[in-house]
């Protein structure tokens, strides 16, 4: 698998399968780990970073893991951005310097970043509400790597990390939710506040502040020290169903009270996406969100949820430029985006990407 081959597939987490997948886009857990014998990445020399990288790569090989490694340091900026868009690397890793990379597993369920803020950032993602399954997988993966690596660990403070906000379990348990009805009925503030009170963080699709991107919100734990991994996961599995229920109630209210208005909004969104000849990224996100809601409420019945999920990622700038095979300015991208949307949505049939 190389980077160009990635453009021809999409991550499993976009397939729209798994429990509650009309609202829960995906479940994700990441673990922060560091090698005991090296300084943290921000303090490591180039030579040390390269030694860290080769220790980790050799551990992955010896553990017989089915992973493909991308040397991010050697990638052009466009390819780095492409990996960010696919949620395989962070913006920090893309913008970093020196030896660093990411190992990607089959179906893009696994991404292991090397020399990000911590030496290792292990991530496992699955479609739908599947935190227990994700934990089982990432826990096993962590064990396999640890057979060949000495992690920085203290009995009192647990796994030692570059930032004290991650020390202890080093775990970030997150669920990405699509909450268009709560957003439309201006109830997100209330949700934010309730979640903040119990120490949960809310971010957008790409981790940006609280500004939502296509009405996607990631809810995750902030505390990492003093509670075990299963306890921290339980906080999420207790709270997320309540948010889901809240969104369902808001959807039902929209259907009962403003059905025609909603149907009109959804159909217009679908119409624009199918026929536009130039369209910005922001407008695309907004309209895709409406269409996704429309599919889930049965207002659109000739389009698969997986197609819409993929389009959230595949209408991003780097993806469009990768499939075009050249760099494009903003105007050109807007044209390319509209053309791509028309081809994927033509006659309402599900069209596989070429």
């Amino acid at each position: 698998m190389n980077l160009d081959e990635l453009t021809r597939s999409s991550g499993e987490w976009l397939r729209g399968t798994g429990p509650e997948s009309d609202i829960v886009m995906c479940s994700r857990i990441r673990l922060a780990r560091n090698l005991a014998e090296f300084p943290f990445t921000n303090r490591a020399s180039r030579t040390e970073k390269s030694e860290i990288e080769s220790s980790i790569r050799s551990a992955m090989q010896r553990a017989n893991l089915e992973l493909v490694y991308f040397d991010v340091n050697a990638l052009p900026p466009l390819d780095r951005q492409f990996l960010v868009e696919r949620q395989l690397i962070s913006r920090e890793l893309a913008a970093g310097e020196g030896p660093r990379g990411v190992a990607v597993g089959p179906l893009e369920n696994i991404a292991i970043m090397v020399n990000e803020e911590d030496h290792l950032r292990i991530q496992v993602m699955l479609s739908g509400m599947a935190l227990h399954d994700v934990w089982e997988r990432i826990n096993r993966l962590d064990d396999q790597l640890e057979e060949h690596l000495a992690y920085a660990f203290s009995t009192q403070l647990g796994y030692l990390t570059a930032c004290p906000t991650n020390v202890g379990t080093g775990i970030r348990v997150g669920v990405m939710l699509h909450l268009p009805a709560l957003a439309q009925t201006k109830q997100m503030e209330k949700v934010f506040r309730a979640l903040q009170k119990i120490n949960l963080a809310v971010r957008g699709l790409y981790g940006e502040g609280t500004q939502a991107f296509g009405d996607f919100y990631q809810i995750s734990n902030q505390q990492t020290l003093g509670k075990s991994e299963p306890e921290l996961i339980r906080i999420l599995t207790d709270v997320v169903p309540q948010v889901i229920q809240y969104e369902r109630t808001a959807r039902q209210a929209l259907m009962n009270e403003k059905r025609q208005h909603l149907h009109d909004q959804v159909s217009r969104a679908y119409g624009v996406l199918k026929t536009a000849h130039t369209i910005s990224s922001e407008e695309t996100m907004l309209l895709l969100s409406s269409v996704r809601l429309g599919i889930n409420l049965g207002l659109i019945d000739d389009l698969e949820i997986a197609t819409i999920n993929e389009l959230f990622i595949q209408t991003q700038p780097a993806y469009l430029q990768k499939i075009q095979g050249s760099e494009l300015g903003v105007e050109e991208r807007n044209v390319a985006r509209a053309s791509y949307l028309r081809s994927r949505l033509s006659n309402g049939r599900h069209v596989e990407p070429d």
Partner: protein, 174 residues
């Protein structure tokens, strides 16, 4: 939320959910606020009409106070392993090596309690017994010594340090 559960905001009767450590005239001072008063406290004095985003708030919690402040004696402390000073950590929010958790322990503990409400790990333990801290960090220190010796063209020391590194690495089966 541990021991802070019943703490009240300093400015009203709501529960305190934000625990902020500011450095004022070189001394740490703790504040306990409800959300509203925390925002009020953290808002820049002028022209700050918006509440700070969460990430800024987190950084503020870590960095622990206004950017312009006098360094304290704790700030000048330097880790012998990675050479980071506590001040550098305060400014960047990132530690330099695992040993920093030992060397800056007194300063870090209240910070950890602020962030996590707890100071003791509960959860997964690596299957392999972790080596003791000294052994964990010896290699970092030796590699630094090696770097310095090479830079100073002190090849005798460099050779000796290199041998020590090799023997530890062999002991670890690398």
């Amino acid at each position: 939320m541990g021991s802070n559960k019943k703490m009240k905001c300093q400015k009203c009767s709501k529960p305190a959910t934000f625990h902020i450590t500011d450095i004022e005239r070189g001394k740490p001072r703790e504040y306990h606020f409800c959300e509203e008063h925390a925002h009020q406290h953290l808002r820049p004095p002028e022209g700050g009409q918006d509440a700070p985003p969460i990430s800024d708030l987190a950084k503020k919690l870590i960095v622990g106070g206004a950017a312009a402040r006098e360094p304290t004696s704790a700030d000048k402390q330097v880790c012998p392993i990675c050479q980071i000073s506590f001040l550098e950590f305060r400014n960047s929010g990132r530690l330099g090596c695992p040993y920093d958790y030992e060397i800056f322990r007194d300063e870090l503990m209240p910070l950890l309690e602020n962030i996590h409400d707890e100071t003791r790990h509960s959860g997964k333990v690596p299957r392999r017994a972790p080596r003791n801290t000294r052994q964990q960090t010896t290699l970092i220190q030796l590699r630094n010594d090696l770097k310095r010796a090479v830079a100073a063209e002190d090849y005798e020391t460099a050779a000796r340090v290199r041998d020590m590194i090799r023997s530890i690495e062999q002991e670890q089966g690398r």
